[in-house]
Symmetry: C2
């Protein structure tokens, strides 16, 4: 494929075109300034007075005129080409721009009829902005046409790619601020073009907006010489197109030409790939837009330059109510857009302003892709019994739970082969995580060079592997927000890499759920595997179970955490997660061979309850409360708990032991703290109010206390879990180091159950001896004690 | 400055040089394979038998030969040039390579005398690797010469820059794996050269190691055409030098020439900048090393290719004990390095192998920079009274606490002007965080283009601003690990961006503290400001107080969390943090004007206790236990609590109210859970065992329960805090939305203190009415109620 930008003769805008585009841009700028400043007098029908101005001035002007320019010009090309388009606004703090434009294109009033496209609506638009009870200052779920908040910088481009995957007709423009461009996630996102299939995916058009300054500093990319910046973009696999200037007419002309050139090039790439089967990786266009920060705003305030500097970042005139000079400057600034030419006396935009607004759902504010629930279809999850493992007796046969799940996921992948609305993302570990059955149904997305030794790479693959959790997360978020389904499989420890990203997604979902016009989208599903207890190869740096703690801090209406203890429970949990909506589901499951405990039917029933006692594992006879409850959550703690139960059954058969397994962690919360929370009577029925509970938990032990502190029996709760005693060692040594092993659990029982027979003292000593034996054995042999390695449930 | 790589005639290695370098490399490869596989028979004195092989084979071979090559060649140039050098090994999972080399250069035996440089030591070196009770499989704190674990990928290059800052004589080589290169943090790190001063800083030499594959996939950068990769590196501001091949002799020759060329170029850049005052930003060299993954390992195993593919990533021959073919292949592989030529009969490396090992502290394993505590000097923190605010009466005057801190930091910056061992990092917010007094003492590091409108930029500045928390964190970690001091000031919410990075640093410190040869280093100090309660401009996406929760999950010997409530307490806490060692200190403090509560002396005493009752604020007369404890932590909760105390004092004067402020969060933990934990008797004396405690906390309320659940009075503890009810709104509306406001706190008191007078019911109603009044006022005016906005402590 010819990679040189083709030298199309740049068509200049006709005077009427230029005039209309400039009118729209001025209108958007006027509306943006109005939102930041005005409480009243929206059309400047009378001279501006202090009381027309908001008492607290909050918003970001600096990036706004640039965003308005992009929106204005996107309108033109969407209309001219009948494009199916979406735009991701990286500088999302430029909320006034996107709000102004969606008010102009009518989608704001369609969504919020009280904010009508007239004077009364304009007054509301202005007043509500960054005003208590109004709308946030950023692009947000409340903003029509948005899938990206932009508050935490760095994720615009990966979101844009996520939206473009499997949307072959869609062009996703992505405005990238030069501040955001310094972040790691954004820097990595440029290479996402190695994963974009020109046949089955849409296009992403990056618009790198260099306005030169962040909050207080120059931006790195804005201060590279142009040849170095060009080299960088070419190194990223893009052909750059430059739009530079501060003269509006010249910039309009250059921007129109740049967009035409870029869209021609995109169409050309897609045509060649789709019709001519050209298979080279295309060099996609990218636009570099260099305009002043705070362009068209006050040039100088109080004797220092503002336009074109970092001082234009937020509110260029900060003292309008108190300082008459500032007030005068504000009025002059607003009038510089000539509002009389833009709006009629009733505050309606004049026809010229609206000349290039696209029709209906083509408007950027109305794109169904930005309200993905509109496009969402039920995921075809097949019946689980085809994939479930047979369990004759608990605790005797072993399976790798994630490998069993892989069968189910492969079936979903196969069932969506035509629809292409399901993807699995992960950092280079799909096979390592035993999900390689997926490759029977699809390949790994890859557009770069391939060699004979490569396996499972495919241009149209729907497994996405890249060694960046940020990209995985961002791709999946963009994919889900535009109405598709997916799963992120990750090392448990490194899920923390995306702590802050998932925060933002949870915030988005929490807000979107409260907006009736936003339709539910598919949940973001994490499979955390390669977990803390099985880092035999990697040791301490790979041992961290805290992602669950992080998630459980967040909005309870959104977050769900599951720790299925075996293969069939994993299937049941995954089935539920894949069908759910508007959640973030975290599933922690092992990939190493582990015992099967439950049949599929038992697993379904157990997962539906979320927590339950395993009567076959305990020694209750039903005649009285148990003497002790052994509770567990997670595959390794469940194994140790069952082994401890076996020891107790053998050595203290008169002890009434109840074994409780927790799959759904939020069941432990009170009813009013989480929708899944158990009522107290139910919690008490399972855990008792007064018997010792020895809880073996997968992660940090205090999480269980944080969930259960309000329960009556809390003072009898004793939790074992991971306490940062990690290294490269054997699986059983890991649990011994953290006092989670079967022997320690039996000792805990002896220590906490009152009135035990004298022989319990001997049992306790035997357990302590077993731990000593373990230490000696492992140093000598480097393997686990045979009695541990060969253990099966005594039945 | 001339940026073209100068066409030096490449000097070829003499045959003897080549032979010695190759011998060293083969020795390192042999020792690496030995570590992965052998339990016994280290010198292959007898034919290899299954029992000589470890029962569990754990380690990463794939990257190891490449790391060995780099180490071998660094030895040569260090010795030839008497370089002060450090190397950061990005593919830190290639632990066997770094261990092999430090055993060869003698530093391993210097550090661990039982692992001597002879047969017995070699046997121990092999056995201990990835063996229970031995050493981790990765480069780790246990590894001499290391500052970088490399388990969580992405941070090598930012660590390297951190090490190079203010070390003008140091050359930091940084090996970057092609997997790691896909991560966001690494992708962003390339631009760190815009912040490296060729006069006052050392040099960073990136070695991008393209071995082609990650765990299961090709690496993106390895599959770019060379011109595209070159463009990328030039776009990053580097001049690439390529070393490509699989023939050892040719690669040795090319690698030697590349290192000579790069180091000549570095010396030239530094000379020009330092002697000739050339001020252009230099284009630093970078080496692209392209060799096969698992080079020199088994070419094919069980009929499939291994060398040069992802199958060489970990253990190429997985079944050596069971499969005689694998055993034979392993023996042939080991013997291919011709160990008899490399080691004498006593297992000592032969002189030729050691010919290029540098002397003494020049050895990479012995660099004092890698054991930074050796170089650490006390930070000159001036007396606080010069910076403290005068407090005549509590709760009447306002200061911006971080601005007060800025004065102290500026003094530290000035006092280290010559020493240059203190830096402040942050994402573009030093001035926004009110720390701009720093600019009286230094500038912001910046090597790129400057314009007339820029302010405070300086090539030698020691404030580092870049819009990447990852870079800030990595720079500071590298700086601290090499024996210097610093502070990271961040938005509270976006500290989560580095959750996973700080995990790794805490793990490093926790392990390093247990190694007697590692000397204490300066703590990593966070100042989290722009916190959850004051996001007037930005709203929900910027509201997250959970970093503290994340930190408190980690090793208690390392983590410390402080919430100073006013300016003088912030000074006192910062003073302590800056002087401390081996901790991660998190300080959460406001930047908005807040009331001064304590004089400096009171602040010191209060911070030393970490928690204390403020007698002046309560109404206890000392004759009996209080009726209620109002506890608070954080500036905004302290304000609301004091306001609530004022209301109670006025309306229910007979109520005995104790006001307790918590500065050091870990004081709430039990004594055995954290070194700062209060003994129960002390906790009970402050909080009582049976009186209601209304705790107003800065962050997620359940954190307080998680810390205090074991206390006797826990069931009487009622916590208010942030519960994800955020948006763009006024400060007081934020606390009302989250039920943390003064009125709600008074209502909580009325609800929880038994036996109150009837008039308490009226007070409760008045409080509820005040909340209603707030809602009406704010919607009408967009500002807070005058009674709130104008409030001062009634005294």
């Amino acid at each position: 494929m010819d990679d040189a930008p083709r030298p199309t003769a740049p068509r200049h805008l006709e005077p009427a075109e230029l005039q209309a585009l400039d009118a729209h841009w001025r209108a958007a700028n006027y509306l943006a300034v109005g939102q930041i400043y005005l409480l009243a007098n929206p059309l400047l029908a009378e001279p501006l007075r202090p009381e027309h101005v908001k008492p607290r001035l909050l918003g970001h002007w600096g990036t706004t005129p640039g965003l308005n320019l992009v929106y204005t010009h996107l309108n033109r090309v969407i209309r001219a080409r009948a494009l199916d388009a979406l735009c991701v606004w990286g500088p999302g703090h430029g909320g006034p721009a996107v709000l102004a434009n969606s008010w102009l294109d009518g989608t704001y009033s369609d969504t919020y009829p009280d904010v009508s496209r007239d004077r009364s609506g304009m007054a509301k638009l202005f007043r509500q902005f960054s005003f208590p009870g109004g709308v946030p200052s950023h692009v947000a779920p409340e903003t029509p046409g948005s899938i990206h908040e932009g508050g935490e910088l760095g994720y615009s481009l990966t979101h844009a790619y996520g939206a473009a995957f499997d949307n072959p007709g869609l062009v996703v423009t992505c405005v990238i601020g030069d501040g955001e461009a310094e972040t790691g996630p954004l820097a990595a996102s440029w290479h996402a073009n190695k994963f974009l299939d020109p046949v089955h995916d849409g296009a992403v058009l990056p618009v790198l907006h260099l306005n030169g300054y962040k909050i207080a500093n120059p931006a790195v990319l804005a201060r590279l010489p142009q040849d170095e910046l060009d080299a960088l973009l070419r190194g990223y696999g893009h052909n750059p197109i430059h739009v530079t200037g501060d003269d509006p007419a010249a910039v309009h002309d250059a921007m129109a030409a740049a967009l035409d050139q870029a869209l021609d090039r995109i169409a050309d790439i897609q045509r060649r790939a789709r019709s001519e089967e050209v298979r080279d990786r295309p060099r996609w266009p990218a636009i570099v837009l260099r305009t002043p920060k705070g362009w068209t705003g006050p040039h100088e305030v109080d004797g220092v330059p503002v336009e074109g500097t970092w001082r234009a970042h937020q509110v260029p005139l900060p003292e309008v109510r108190e300082n008459p000079d500032h007030l005068r400057q504000l009025e002059a600034w607003l009038r510089s857009y000539r509002p009389d030419e833009l709006f009629d006396a009733a505050g309606r935009p004049r026809p010229e302003v609206l000349a290039y607004i696209p029709e209906g759902a083509r408007r950027l504010g109305a794109s169904p892709h930005a309200n993905g629930g509109l496009l969402l279809r039920e995921l075809p999850v097949p019946p689980l019994d085809r994939y479930a493992v047979k369990v004759e007796r608990p605790g005797t046969a072993l399976h790798e739970p994630t490998r069993v799940l892989g069968g189910l996921l492969a079936a979903v992948m196969a069932a969506t082969a035509e629809r292409r609305d399901f993807r699995v993302v992960g950092p280079d570990e799909t096979a390592s995580n035993r999900l390689d059955a997926l490759y029977t149904a699809t390949g790994k997305a890859w557009q770069a060079e391939t060699l004979d030794t490569d396996e499972h790479l495919a241009r149209d693959g729907r497994v996405m592997e890249v060694l960046s959790e940020h990209l995985c997360q961002g791709w999946l978020e963009g994919y889900l927000l535009t109405g598709r389904h997916g799963l992120f499989a990750s090392y448990e420890a490194f899920a923390h890499v995306v702590d802050s990203m998932v925060n933002q997604h949870i915030k988005w979902l929490r807000t979107a759920r409260r907006l009736p016009w936003r339709r539910p989208i598919a949940s973001l599903n994490y499979l955390l595997t390669s977990h803390v207890w099985r880092q035999d190869h990697n040791g301490f740096s790979h041992q961290d179970p805290g992602f669950v703690d992080h998630i459980l801090d967040k909005s309870p209406e959104v977050v769900r955490v599951y720790l299925p203890p075996d293969a069939n429970t994993l299937l049941s949990v995954a089935d539920h997660a894949l069908r759910s909506r508007d959640y973030v589901n975290v599933i922690v499951a092992g990939k190493q061979p582990g015992f099967d405990w439950l049949t599929l039917d038992e697993a379904r029933a157990h997962c539906a309850r979320g927590v339950g006692s395993w009567a076959w594992a305990g020694t209750e006879d039903g005649s009285r409360e148990p003497d002790v409850v052994l509770a567990c959550a997670g595959d390794v703690p469940t194994l140790e708990t069952l082994a401890a139960a076996g020891l107790l059954r053998r050595h203290l058969p008169e002890l009434a032991v109840r074994v409780v397994n927790v799959v759904d962690m939020t069941r432990l919360l009170p009813r009013d703290a989480h929708p899944h929370g158990m009522p107290d009577f139910e919690y008490d029925a399972v855990f008792t109010r007064d018997r010792p509970v020895i809880f073996a938990y997968h992660g940090y032990p205090w999480l269980i206390h944080r969930l259960a502190y309000r329960r009556a029996g809390h003072q009898h709760l004793h939790v074992r879990g991971y306490k940062e005693e990690g290294t490269t060692t054997t699986p059983f040594d890991m649990v011994v180091r953290n006092d989670l092993d079967r022997y320690r659990l039996v000792m805990d029982v002896v220590d906490r159950v009152p009135g035990l027979a004298v022989r319990a003292v001997a049992l306790r000593q035997a357990m302590a001896d077993a731990r000593t034996r373990h230490h000696a054995w492992i140093r000598a042999h480097g393997t686990d004690l045979p009695e541990v390695a060969d253990w099966t449930w005594p039945g």
